[in-house]
Amino acid sequence: MGRHVAIVGCGQTDHKSRRSDVNGREMIYEAVSRALSDAEMTIRDVDAVVIGNMDHFESINYVDTWSVEGSGGIMKPIMKVTTGGTTGTSVAMAGYYHVASGLFDRVLTIGWEKNSESDTTAAIVTCSDPVWDRFSYSGAIPSLATEATAYMERYGATQEEAALVAVRDRGHALNNPHAHLRKAVTLKEVMESPMLAYPIKLLDVCPRTDGACAVVFAADGVAQKLVPRPAWIRSCAVRHTFTWFGDSTDYQKGLVSLQRAGREAYRNAGITEPARELDVAELYLPYTWAGLKWIEDLGFCGPGEGPRFVADGHTDMDGTIPVNPSGGVISTNCIGATALLRVAEAAVQIMGRGEARQVPDARLALATGFGGCFWSDVMILGAERG
């Protein structure tokens, strides 16, 4: 069996829509140097590097070999892991398995994206089959719009209820100095923002961001010596269930991949009542309806109860389970880094380094990743080694 593994340092860039002051490697360096400093390490202490992004956003092939001057991977083992939107959690889990295997003691993981250099949607639509799927139902928005309308139809949820998720996350971002969109929005502003694909409006969805995130994983025995309160990985679960968008969601069942990954992660971490036992959740919510529906799939509340759960303040900073103290994906979305930011933010909470966005005494945290063809990744982090 694998060793226990903990996160001992996190770093992220100052996210913006366009970081014209740095190139990709410099941006990666910014996150890496901050993560190493957070872990009180130097690059010499790093045994291996894992990096991920989505190739076609920057049009760089072999990003692992290209990035060594920013990542510090020269004369070290490097590996690239990439799975679309879930890249960040895939990278985090690769870091975890590097260490759990017993082969490496300290592993640096990096997710990054310089979206300003790309045409994001033009690149994303090529994820689906060129003959069958690409011209009908591809890209980020159409399938999410379908999911949202199906949810509204089934449970009578309203656009206003969804808009509250944006109001919450954008409000939380005011406490996060790294967040991209640090301006609160009102319900009225969300409702009046331009319609992109019914019922999704501009302020219901995530932005495109330039940014990078780096997280250092360390082995049991090493981690405790580096930081006073490491964030232990308690479980990882992955469901990249589908290849075809037409298969990807049974709108009557909800987000099946998240339900299954969540159940497995809870079981392995010994969690039976997630909303009560978890202290904080950093969820990959790329649009507002996910903030209603996916918390049901994660078992925070029952089917159809998401709107009430959110409206009643259960997911606010002082609620039963604060969701996205960082401001979440709706405030910052550097795609290859986005899911790793969820893991990093969950670790920051456990390590007690959240400053203005800290949930007091967070001991058990949930991070998720979403991407590809309605895929889900779940990681649970804790103050106890387990």
Partner: protein
């Protein structure tokens, strides 16, 4: 390291242009065949690593296309983008972390893309890319540096091509089995001085898969387990101009670590067969030096002395190597598959008699910037 083993392997034939098969078809076939080889069903697989590249596949999230074909529905899956030897290493890490039975599958359909543009995209977009540099021209620079530094000749490299294409004649899966002479290589079209057409690997379509089992799970497979005794990877600097291209310190370091894990003290004595990543003919002697089989600059002597021939003490690339079949992303995994077949004694016409320990290599990036070295053995 806890004992882990490769208990199932498969690969497709490598061919120029498989117009009758999609990438999903190739992945499905090797998944099915690796399971059949191991005597397992898809339900015995508890996690999957796919290997793909968005540039080669011409689509973003290229992993999305093949998850279903790899039987990963409802399983824990991840994707390494790079050579299959690296993907297999991630699979090995997961086996060591507690997964019982890991499937690793790689595919490459180079025929669907423009390899010049695809490999041009690995160079710096600001300083290098517009010069038109690609895998071929960068390799030519490396070959030139290597020749100049050690007084090697184009004929030295041509010998490698002759040997490996000859070996490929004993491997029905190879793309380019050829009966050629040094003179044929020398007379072949000069693509990027000093590299000629017959110094280059072909662009092949194909796929490969392996199954990695923990020691306790290995008995469920019907095959003789081939044990993973050492595996390590390492990367050099990025800009070719920052590197000593006539040496491969990253390979040296990866090999040293893999040897230490496997208890190898004298590689030439302890290793019986090598399957290395000879994308171009000059790479074979250069990588052999990096692996410590000879002193710097004397890798070509190994072939002159007959050491690396089929009847030598260290046959190199009995399959015909990458020079004879090069499906991008697959080639390093194919080296591992070939080593497993050698160690099981199932390599048929290209079998090295009595092979007990084998080395497989994969590379990533320009001029072999990043290397992955595997030591496999019949002994646990």
């Amino acid at each position: 390291m806890e004992p882990i083993a490769i208990t199932g392997v498969s690969q497709t034939p490598y061919r120029e242009r498989m117009i009758d098969k999609t990438a999903y078809d190739l992945v499905y076939e090797v998944t099915r065949d690796a399971l059949a080889d191991a005597g397992l069903g898809i339900h015995d697989i508890d996690n999957v690593i796919t290997v793909s590249n968005d540039f080669v596949d011409g689509r973003t999230i290229s992993s999305m296309a093949v998850g279903e074909a790899a039987g990963a529905h409802d399983k824990n899956i991840s994707t390494v983008e790079g050579d299959g030897a690296f993907g297999a290493f991630y699979g090995a890490m997961r086996a060591l972390s507690g997964f019982d039975t890991t499937l690793v599958v790689a595919h490459g359909k180079g025929s669907e893309g423009d390899m010049g543009l695809i490999t041009n995209a690995m160079f710096d977009p600001v300083y290098q890319r517009h010069l038109g540099i690609d895998a071929l021209t960068a390799a030519a620079l490396q070959a030139d540096v290597y020749m100049t530094r050690y007084g090697l000749t184009e004929e030295d490299f041509a010998e490698v091509s002759v040997k490996n294409h000859q070996n490929a004649r004993n491997n029905p899966l190879a793309h380019l089995p050829l009966d050629i002479t040094v003179s044929d290589v020398m007379k072949s079209e000069r693509l990027s001085d000093p590299i000629k057409r017959l110094d280059c690997s072909p662009i092949s379509d194909g796929a490969a898969a392996i199954i990695i089992s923990t020691g306790r799970a290995s008995s469920r497979s019907r095959t003789r387990p081939i044990w993973i005794r050492g595996v390590a990877h390492c990367s050099d600097a990025y800009f070719p101009g920052d590197r000593n291209l006539a040496d491969s310190p990253a390979l040296r370091r990866a090999a040293k670590r893999a040897y230490a894990m496997a208890g190898i003290t004298n590689p030439l004595k302890n290793i019986d067969v090598v399957e290395l990543y000879d994308a171009f003919s000059y790479m074979e002697p250069l990588w052999l030096e990096g692996m410590g089989f000879s002193e710097p600059g004397s890798g070509a002597r190994l072939l002159k002395d007959g050491v690396t021939r089929m009847d030598g003490i260290l046959p190199v690339n009995p399959s015909g190597g990458v020079l004879s079949a090069h499906a991008l992303m697959v080639a390093g995994l194919s080296r591992i598959v070939e080593c497993v077949l050698q160690l099981r004694g199932e390599a048929r016409e290209h079998q090295v008699p009595g092979a007990e320990t084998a080395l497989a290599q994969g590379i990533n990036g320009p001029c072999g910037q990043s290397h992955c070295v595997w030591i496999l053995s019949v002994n646990q």
